[in-house]
């Protein structure tokens, strides 16, 4: 695979891999049995996407388990800790809306990723619906759930600008993607009775550098857990 095709496969593959891992951390801890199922289901879909994308670049396990923090190109949004259920849902809302729009765009094209995008767009439509429904329930539920959802949406807002940094070789114009995302997220937040966060969408140090391998502090610890067993047995197969 040429470098121009490798970069986008790694970017999208790492996004899916890392978010899948975070969702996997929920298992056995979800607020209701149906959400154990739903979160696991989404995590599995994402892991499936990650495996296809990473395999376009090289060996999926080498890429997942033997790269260090600085070599991962996922956006910082997906590595953010689960927090409470509202944080997880806000992260899902922001990311699945982006991912659904992006895969829709890729599926319409004839590029490298149109085939896998056609499958992923069906999965991400479901993820987006799940996130939107919960945003409505939490935003327009009780006073407590409203407050928590508002806090979560505000806390993660600063990581959303990075979603629309251009990815070289992907062949998607981030401008229209971003405006479609904004329209959709604002509409859902509006229906949920939640204000659209007003803060900056990148930090002073540019929370837009995940694609360049600059991550947040919790990410290294997450990788340490994910990789330790594989790294402890070099060359072994599982």
């Amino acid at each position: 695979m040429t470098p121009t095709r490798t970069a986008p496969a790694l970017a999208l593959g790492d996004d899916a891999l890392i978010l899948s891992h975070r969702l996997g951390e929920w298992m056995g801890h979800a607020p209701v049995l149906e959400e154990e199922l739903a979160l696991a289901n989404i995590a599995l879909d994402l892991l499936g996407q990650a495996r296809v994308l990473l395999s376009l670049v090289g060996d999926e396990d080498e890429l997942a388990y033997l790269r260090e923090e600085r070599a991962f190109c996922n956006v910082q949004l997906v590595e953010q800790p689960n927090g409470d259920f509202a944080h997880t849902i806000a992260r899902q809302l922001y990311f699945s809306t982006y991912q659904h729009l992006l895969y829709g765009e890729l599926a319409r094209g004839e590029g490298e990723f149109s085939g896998l995008a056609a499958k992923a767009v069906k999965e991400t439509a479901y993820h987006r619906d799940h996130a939107e429904q919960w945003t409505l329930r939490l935003g327009d539920g009780t006073d407590e759930s409203h407050a928590r959802m508002r806090t979560a949406c505000e806390a993660l807002w600063r990581f959303t600008g990075e979603l629309f940094e251009p990815v070289e070789g992907l062949g998607v114009d981030p401008g229209p993607l971003e405006s479609a995302w904004r329209t959709s997220v604002e509409e859902v937040l509006g229906r949920a009775g939640l204000p659209v966060p007003e803060g900056p969408r990148t930090g002073a140090w540019r929370a837009g550098a995940g694609r360049q391998g600059l991550h947040t502090e919790s990410f290294g610890r997450m990788l340490a857990e994910m990789q330790h067993l594989h790294r402890s047995h070099p060359g072994a197969s599982w």
Partner: protein, 327 residues
């Protein structure tokens, strides 16, 4: 057929003696008892207890395996494990639904679990200390569960029997995956082989305990067998399981930690060493290695999630009567 049977068993008139005779005849004829049929109170109570315990085991059983999801050593294994834990949540849902047909509710049953008034399988009070434990659970624990559950597909209570048909299909799949995981380790590096052997050494005896106390000490067995809830005795199922596992262990290239284990030509079964029933009783009493941890995590998840469930209920209440216009 079911409708006819229901009418037959719930006559408009007649006393409990008549109903009891019709119920006994239905059980004797291997008919299925359905939710609207009359049934003895003790039959209902036994089923609620057993199905609830089964459902609780599925959801507590997610914990020892979920313990390894974030550390699974390959993406393929991680996907398999996630799918398995997801299936277990699904099994919990089927089983709570089956229990609800008997006039209880999931909330009530969960409350009983959280307050220690209902139990779950003792096996899940053991810790998963290495990756190989995930394989040992699949091979041995799911294997024992299947041996127990396949006969339940013919249980006299229809909703439970039908839930078991679905559960057993998925469990057999998990069991094969666990076996295959151990096989990969057993044929891998010497460290991996040792890891697999250690896991089997730790999970073998607790798996044999999953069949419950010996027949002469099993409080509910005789009645459950008469009602055709249970089809075989604890000791029969345990023997059957040992006979299945011995050749599988050989093809795995792993040994079972029992010096007394050998084929008995005369009986046509394997003889095996004595089970440590003291340990079994201690675990049942709450003194196993993870009893406290498992129930604390379950309660914590439930308490931490209360505001989410309240939000969903409040949202639903505000929006009842709205049509699906938004969909």
């Amino acid at each position: 057929m079911a409708t006819v049977a229901a009418e037959r068993r719930t006559p408009e008139s007649g006393d409990d003696g008549d109903r009891q005779r019709l119920f006994d005849a239905a059980v004797a004829a291997d008919d299925r008892i359905e939710p609207r049929d009359w049934m003895p109170d003790a039959y209902r109570a036994t089923l609620v207890r057993q199905i609830a315990q089964h459902a609780h085991s599925e959801i507590i059983g997610m914990q020892p395996e979920a313990n390894w999801i974030t550390r699974a050593p390959s993406l393929r294994r991680k996907a398999i494990l996630m799918a398995k834990v997801q299936d277990e949540a699904g099994h919990g849902l089927y089983l709570y639904s089956a229990a609800e047909t008997l006039g209880t509710s999931r909330d009530e049953l969960l409350d009983k679990l959280h307050t220690g008034r209902q139990k779950y399988s003792s096996i899940f009070n053991y810790p998963t200390l290495t990756w190989a434990d995930v394989g040992a659970i699949g091979w041995l624990v799911d294997g024992a569960a299947i041996t127990n559950q396949v006969p339940l597909c013919r249980c006299s209570y229809g909703p439970y029997a039908r839930a078991m048909v679905r559960v057993c299909k998925e469990e057999s799949f998990h069991q094969r995956q666990g076996y295959e995981l151990l096989l990969a380790l057993s044929n891998g590096t010497s460290e991996q082989h040792a890891m697999a052997q250690d896991a089997v050494d730790r999970w073998w005896w607790p798996s044999l305990m999953m069949f419950g106390p010996p027949d002469d000490e099993s409080a509910h067995s005789a009645q459950s067998m008469a009602w055709k809830i249970k089809r075989h005795s604890n000791d029969d199922l345990r023997r059957r399981f040992v006979d299945i596992c011995v050749p599988q262990a050989e093809s795995l290239g792993l040994t079972l930690p029992d010096p007394d284990l050998r084929w008995n030509e005369e009986r046509g079964h394997h003889d095996f060493g004595p089970i440590d029933w003291t340990e079994f009783k201690e675990v049942l009493k709450g003194n196993g290695p993870c009893n406290e941890q498992r129930i604390t995590q379950r309660r914590q998840a439930h308490e931490d999630g209360a505001w989410v469930r309240e939000a969903a209920a409040a949202h639903a209440a505000k929006h009842t009567g709205e049509t699906g216009a938004r969909a």
